[in-house]
């Protein structure tokens, strides 16, 4: 059902945990849909220096969380923002069509952490694109 990469990131998820004194925290999803992801970021010199997550959800939600955090770690904040769920799914060698929404969770949680960071630093939050917004509203926390 899942690729080997999905199973690897599911069984040995990277970047699990919390960051004390995080610069930004984001949480999306709700128990009704069966998935919740919480992301902590540490930002230094406009670079995501560290990132940790906690996820309640199915195997693809956990694998997407793990892969997405790997992909944005060390990136400039704006580049991290540009990470799409499609790129996460591709990096995992694909997800079954019914599970694509699980990869949106990771994208959404990272966005929410980045905007939290921007808010804390007196910066204007960035706008989600329309499609993404509509999907995330369905999953509103």
């Amino acid at each position: 059902m899942y690729s080997e990469k999905v199973m690897d990131h599911f069984r040995n998820p990277r970047n699990v945990g919390e960051i004390e004194n995080a610069d930004g925290i984001g949480e999306v999803g709700n128990p009704k849909c069966g998935d919740i992801m919480k992301v902590y970021i540490k930002v230094n010199d406009d670079v995501i220096e560290d990132i940790k997550f906690k996820t309640f959800g199915c195997a693809s939600a956990i694998a997407s969380s793990s892969m997405a955090t790997e992909m944005v770690k060390g990136k400039k904040v704006r580049d991290a923002w540009e990470l799409t769920n499609r790129a996460v799914a591709e990096a995992l060698d694909g997800l079954p069509p019914v599970k694509m929404h699980c990869s949106l969770l990771a994208e959404g949680a990272i966005h929410s952490a980045i905007n939290d960071y921007r808010n804390r630093n007196g910066l204007e939050p960035w706008e989600e694109d329309k499609v993404h917004k509509a999907v995330m509203e369905e999953h509103a926390h």
Partner: protein, 404 residues
């Protein structure tokens, strides 16, 4: 979560409610009817004689298991067909009397989707709710029966949570009120004693692959004298009531499997109930904050366990258990591809998070005490690790603190 990788030394199959293996004795009984004695039982030459005899032997075996008459047993392609036939067949043969059907919210989809179909075709369906253990309320059933009620269909035991309904009481109520009573006994057959006479059952569905028979074969018990419309139209097989060339090897296997499971039933019931309770208590002792879904003791199938683990999602549990060689099942939405978790768990009044965190372990004749030990060794650690990385669990613990 770099953890110890479980070495797959052991394979534990705990999904017997989904299907069982065909037992070797059953397979052996079936084999001659594939290539050797392959004749069509409808043919008149002597070559088919053995097959005709095999069919009547199997019919007798099923009748014995139910305390029915062989004339009341009709072979089908499985539980789904039997359920479809019972509902649609009674609806379209009794629509002169009325158009009202009563069933429950926790039935299998074979019943619920047949009921949907009937609703689209002019029938009224009442869905009775259940309490938090999955039991229907007899007085609600009684109040729901109207002059126009033609059929009551209540499953014998639930496939997800294992709750056994008060079938005898429902049977006598229906008999008293002159309403046909059907029960889907797919999960119960071979696990609990069933007597269609004593329980006043008019129609009963069963499926061979749930008690170590082959897949693709089942039966519908139809009480003698009951009018029922056909579902399958074609040839004159099964006394003109169910067309299609008989699946002789399958039917032979069904008969044999049922004979074996009924002969072992009293001891297996005791053995499995005791294993079940040991596993239930073991999980409760080893994992904090769990909830057993369904009823206790004699109100529960001896082979069914269903737990919700707060803060852990069901599909996650299945994959982790699979990695350790354990096959199980969940009512979580994520495993089914829909967004809604199991209708059964939601009908028990469970919230979404709990329903998403459910795990069903269903045991069978091959389940040993060692299997239980192994599950108890592996499962608590899996739940602990997944909770550690769950924001839902974190919230739950925080709420507990606040209450204190």
């Amino acid at each position: 979560m770099k953890g110890r990788e479980y070495v797959m030394t052991r394979k534990v199959y705990m999904d017997n409610a989904a299907t069982t293996y065909t037992s070797p004795e059953v397979l052996e009984e079936m084999l001659p009817y594939f290539s050797e004695s392959f004749g069509n039982p409808s043919s008149i030459y002597s070559f088919s004689e053995r097959n005709k005899k095999a069919l009547s032997k199997a019919r007798q075996q099923v009748a014995n298991a139910l305390n029915a008459d062989p004339d009341e047993i009709f072979f089908t392609s499985g539980g789904t067909e039997s359920d479809n036939w019972a509902l649609k067949g009674i609806a379209f043969s009794h629509n002169g009397k009325g158009n009202h059907i009563i069933t429950t919210r926790i039935e299998h989809h074979a019943i619920l989707h047949s009921a949907d179909f009937l609703e689209k075709n002019g029938f009224d369906v009442t869905y009775i709710g259940v309490d938090d253990k999955g039991r229907i309320d007899l007085s609600e059933l009684e109040r729901s029966i109207k002059d126009k009620t033609i059929l009551v269909s209540v499953m014998f035991a639930n496939n997800e949570v294992g709750t056994i309904q008060p079938i005898r009481e429902i049977g006598s109520l229906c008999r008293e009120r002159g309403v046909v009573f059907h029960t889907d006994a797919v999960q119960a057959m071979g696990h609990v004693p069933i007597d269609v006479r004593e329980m006043n059952i008019d129609l009963l569905s069963l499926s061979a692959h749930k008690f170590h028979g082959p897949k693709g074969v089942g039966a519908l018990f139809i009480r003698k004298g009951l009018r029922i419309e056909n579902l399958m139209h074609g040839g004159g097989q099964e006394k003109g009531r169910r067309a299609s060339t008989e699946n002789v090897p399958g039917i032979v296997g069904l008969g044999k499997a049922l004979e074996i499971s009924c002969s072992k039933l009293p001891e297996e019931h005791l053995r499995l109930s005791s294993i079940r309770d040991r596993l239930i208590n073991g999980i409760k002792d080893a994992v904090p904050h769990v909830k057993l879904n369904g009823a206790d003791g004699a109100e529960r199938l001896p082979n069914n366990i269903n737990f919700s683990f707060i803060g852990v999602e069901g599909e996650t549990l299945l994959f982790d258990l699979d990695g350790a060689g354990i096959s199980a099942s969940t009512g979580s939405a994520c495993s089914s591809g829909s967004l809604e978790p199991s209708h059964v768990l939601m009908s028990l009044g469970m919230d979404h998070a709990m329903a998403h965190g459910s795990l069903r372990l269903s045991m069978g004749e091959s389940t040993s005490e060692e299997d239980v030990d192994y599950v108890l060794e592996v499962l608590p650690e899996i739940v602990r690790k997944r909770r550690e990385m769950s924001p839902l669990w974190e919230d739950y613990l925080k709420k507990l603190e606040e209450v204190k």
